[in-house]
């Protein structure tokens, strides 16, 4: 088959941003504000930056207002450390928490439409796990734009990027990182619309490709969140950090996986199994439905696993019910109108009259591309890859450790975007004017040729569905040695099957099947490193729960680094957890020891 897989053009720029979501564009906008004229190219896989997953974040943005006499940055740092199950890096926690309010001001001063108090100042609300005085009482720390805070961030960072002249290549993907001698020179890019491969040479490359939620069957993530950035670095021989740390929200709406907020349980919603028994009292006799997220998620999974789930025939997904029928009309109308409307809109049920189907839904990947506190990507011995940065959900700096607190994700993405920009600006001013770019890209050619030359009748969509089912069944809320080993075997088999799938069309231009084929390889790579890291961590920590090892163990007080340059061939390493807040020995430093995560 005479398909020509080669780069047709070369673009030279100062900065290449791979993934134009909140983190990537916050970085780009900062650079252009302080260094006008910098040539920045931003790629996005979606049709336009506004369609990024950042736009879907609802709740809020955690930040300690320096004017608030009751709150402090140290409290926020503590909550983040404790929430992470003592696996966040304290240098990063300190930096992000300290810089948080400045980021709010950046957004506000540039036009984000935050919700306001009567005096015109920013409204704040409480969120799970955010406390005053080291757990004493709830902190009012989350600023927000109604229930669309992520949209506000996205619109603002995109608007600023547009205003200051970033060049966007929409509907494009990075297919190979150009790295030589620990220096990154940019990427090979595939423009889906034109069907062209382009070499983009850049002095600094920012990977901000977002999450990997599509690895799982039920997820709150966008369709495009297929872990592309993680697969990109793995293929370059670089490690991924803590991939086993995957967060599940207890109540995703079956089948789309959309979040049904905690509010439903806090106003009195009752979880019921197939026999309509309220089951939470078995798992948390005191707190019942109000127990922490991970406990509720495990309770629901247990019911499903033990045969007390309900199968939704349309989406072929097991679930339990949330019962809201007994709540007074006023609660439905005043306290939960939005979430109620989600049930109406996406499953056509009236929560006032009918039971609503929910189940744990993949929500966030704490793990990702390992970076230092400046957003610079590191290899397995913690040596920096010059000119290569990673920010946002695809990166692990690590601010969230093994469990992320609500409202900390969009804070992290804008802050790390800004921090990486500081570093990039420094890099650009140090580098000489002329850089000789090596021309070594080859991997993408063989990969895409393989796709076009493949023959056979295997179906990419069905393989993807099978992968997502296996990961949901075997490596999600619960994991065991056996379930993980079985998943690895199945994924290996799926990988072999995927090699026998012929593409229906040889076109390069907007060939959706070709992109899905490429994504499938990424999904399988990410799934494999999640499995391998989960297998190696024989303990339970944060969102990583092993049935066979249900407790946290001090011997695992480190970050997992897993490399997989060739499919199924793993290389495991470790990174120390940064404990600078503890080591500094200042007042309250003992709060930053390896404490128990109990609420």
């Amino acid at each position: 088959m005479g398909i020509s897989i080669e780069t047709s053009t070369t673009i030279d720029c100062d900065i290449l941003i791979v993934g134009a979501g909140g983190a990537g564009l916050r970085c780009g906008a900062e650079v252009l504000e302080r260094r006008p004229g910098t040539k920045i190219v931003a790629l996005t896989k979606v049709s336009h930056p506004q369609k990024s997953h950042t736009s879907t974040a609802q709740g809020g943005l955690a930040a300690v207002d320096p004017k608030d006499p009751l709150d402090s940055v140290l409290f926020h740092a503590f909550d983040t450390w404790k929430g992470s199950d003592c696996t966040a890096d304290q240098n990063v926690v300190k930096k992000v928490c300290e810089s948080a309010w400045d980021q709010i001001l950046w957004l506000e001063n540039r036009g984000m439409h935050f919700s306001r108090e009567r005096d015109g100042r920013l409204s704040k609300r409480t969120f799970g796990g955010h406390t005053r005085n080291f757990g004493e009482s709830s902190a009012y720390r989350a600023v927000f734009e109604a229930d669309r805070t992520g949209k506000g961030i996205m619109d603002t960072s995109w608007g600023e990027s547009l205003k200051r002249g970033i060049t966007f290549i929409n509907q494009s993907i990075a297919v190979e990182l150009l790295i030589e001698d620990k220096q990154c020179f940019g990427c090979v890019v595939f423009n889906q619309k034109s069907g062209e491969f382009i070499t983009v040479n850049a002095r600094a490359t920012i990977i901000s490709t977002g999450g990997s939620g599509q690895v799982y069957q039920v997820t709150t993530n966008c369709r495009q969140n297929t872990g592309d950035g993680l697969a990109l670095v793995l293929e370059s021989g670089l490690p991924v950090m803590d991939p086993e740390a995957v967060q599940f929200h207890p109540t995703g709406i079956v089948g789309p996986g959309i979040l049904a907020s905690e509010t439903l349980r806090s106003v009195g919603g009752i979880l019921r199994n197939n026999a309509l028994e309220p089951f939470m009292s078995k798992y948390a006799p005191k707190m019942k439905e109000l127990a922490p997220r991970d406990l509720v998620a495990r309770a629901i999974e247990s019911e499903i696993r033990e045969g007390r789930g309900v199968l939704n025939p349309d989406h072929n997904i097991q679930h339990v019910w949330i019962d809201l029928r007994h709540l007074p009309d006023e609660v439905h109308q005043k306290q939960i109108p939005e979430v109620s409307s989600f049930f109406k809109r996406y499953v056509n049920l009236d929560p006032q009259k009918e039971l609503c189907p929910v189940r744990p839904s993949n929500h966030y990947h704490m793990g990702g591309i390992p970076t230092n506190e400046f957003g610079e990507v590191e290899d397995k011995v913690q040596a920096v890859i010059n000119g290569l940065f990673a920010v946002g959900e695809c990166a692990a700096s690590s601010f969230h450790g093994f469990n992320r607190l609500g409202t900390n994700s969009i804070l992290e993405l804008i802050t790390m975007g800004k921090i990486a920009a500081d570093r990039v600006i420094g890099c650009l001013s140090r580098q000489s004017e002329t850089i000789v770019y090596p021309t070594t890209s080859t991997r993408f050619e063989s990969r895409f040729k393989r796709y076009f030359e493949s023959t056979g009748t295997e179906n990419i969509g069905l393989i993807r569905n099978k992968l997502r089912q296996v990961m949901t069944r075997n490596v999600s809320v619960f994991r065991t040695e056996k379930s993980i080993a079985e998943a690895i075997d199945i994924i290996k088999e799926l990988k072999l099957r995927s090699e026998n799938s012929a593409l229906s069309s040889t076109s390069l231009s907007l060939n959706q099947e070709l992109i899905q084929r490429w994504e499938l390889d990424n999904l399988m790579a990410v799934a494999m490193v999640i499995c391998e890291a989960a297998r190696a961590r024989k303990e339970s920590r944060g969102a990583h729960f092993r049935d066979d090892y249900p407790d946290r163990k001090d011997q695992y007080n480190y970050h997992t680094l897993v490399s997989m340059a060739h499919f199924g061939v793993f290389d495991l390493d470790r990174r120390e957890i940064d404990r600078s807040l503890f080591d500094e020995g200042k007042e309250h430093h003992e709060k930053f020891d390896f404490i128990e995560r109990k609420y």
């Binding site: 336009h48 369609k51 990024s52 879907t56 036009g111 306001r116 025939p313 349309d314 907007l510």
Partner: protein, 236 residues
């Protein structure tokens, strides 16, 4: 309660490789709460991997999957089979790409071209009013914010632009107008003159025929026509 429908989708397709347009019919057995995006995925997985369509968040927050179903512009992620059957009173649906930009392939349009009209109104603060002091936020009363906050909920799905009588000619379109109107009302924007010039230009709000189709089709239930009327009255 589990009910399935035998659905026919007549999809308007386009192949740029040989510049061919045609209508292709797909027969699908679909559960009552399957959404139209689920149907397209089912077609890709089981019948035809070449059918191109766009989506991203798939829960009405991003506006990628906008298209026309039986001529109505809407978000495919929000259209449940059961609701579609009841609303259109048929099980046969014509599915077309949105007509606000050239089609790239099948149901995917050139969103760069569609967005050029939004970019033209400068969807950001052109000249920011500085806050009262260094390290301060602006103070905006909830009452003032209420005047324009609904307009900020626009996700640029272009359903309004598709339904609008005028936006196929020179009108920049209802969603673009919303972006401009927001910054006229936002006290943080100093550059009001350029905003007003844009709104009252050749391509601005006077192209609007007040059909209110924009408000009727908006998936976010924004009363777009109200904001355009406000601008027509000079924000009195």
């Amino acid at each position: 309660m589990s009910l399935a429908y035998d659905i026919t989708l007549n999809v308007h397709r386009y192949n740029p490789d040989d510049n061919r347009h045609w209508v292709q019919s797909y027969e699908i057995n679909a559960g009552r709460i399957m959404r139209f995006v689920d149907l397209f995925r089912k077609i890709n997985d089981e019948q035809d991997p070449t059918l191109a369509w766009g989506s991203s968040c798939e829960h009405g927050q991003c506006g990628t999957c906008s298209m026309k179903v039986n001529s109505k512009p809407l978000l495919a992620c929000e259209l449940l089979v059961e609701n579609a059957v009841n609303y259109f009173k048929t099980t046969v649906f014509t599915v077309e790409p949105l007509d606000v930009a050239p089609v790239v392939r099948d149901l995917v349009i050139d969103s760069d071209k569609a967005y050029q009209r939004v970019d033209a109104v400068k969807p950001y603060i052109i000249d920011p009013e500085p806050p009262r002091g260094e390290g301060e936020e602006h103070q905006i009363s909830p009452e003032l914010l209420d005047q324009y906050v609904n307009a900020t909920r626009c996700i640029n799905c272009f359903c309004c632009a598709s339904a609008c009588l005028s936006s196929h000619k020179n009108f920049l379109g209802p969603n673009s107008m919303l972006a401009a109107i927001v910054r006229v009302l936002d006290p943080r924007e100093k550059e009001k003159e350029e905003r007003l010039k844009c709104l009252y230009s050749e391509n601005g709000i006077y192209r609007c025929h007040s059909s209110q189709a924009c408000s009727f089709v908006c998936p976010k239930d924004i009363d777009v026509a109200h904001f355009i009327a406000l601008a027509k009255k000079g924000f009195e």
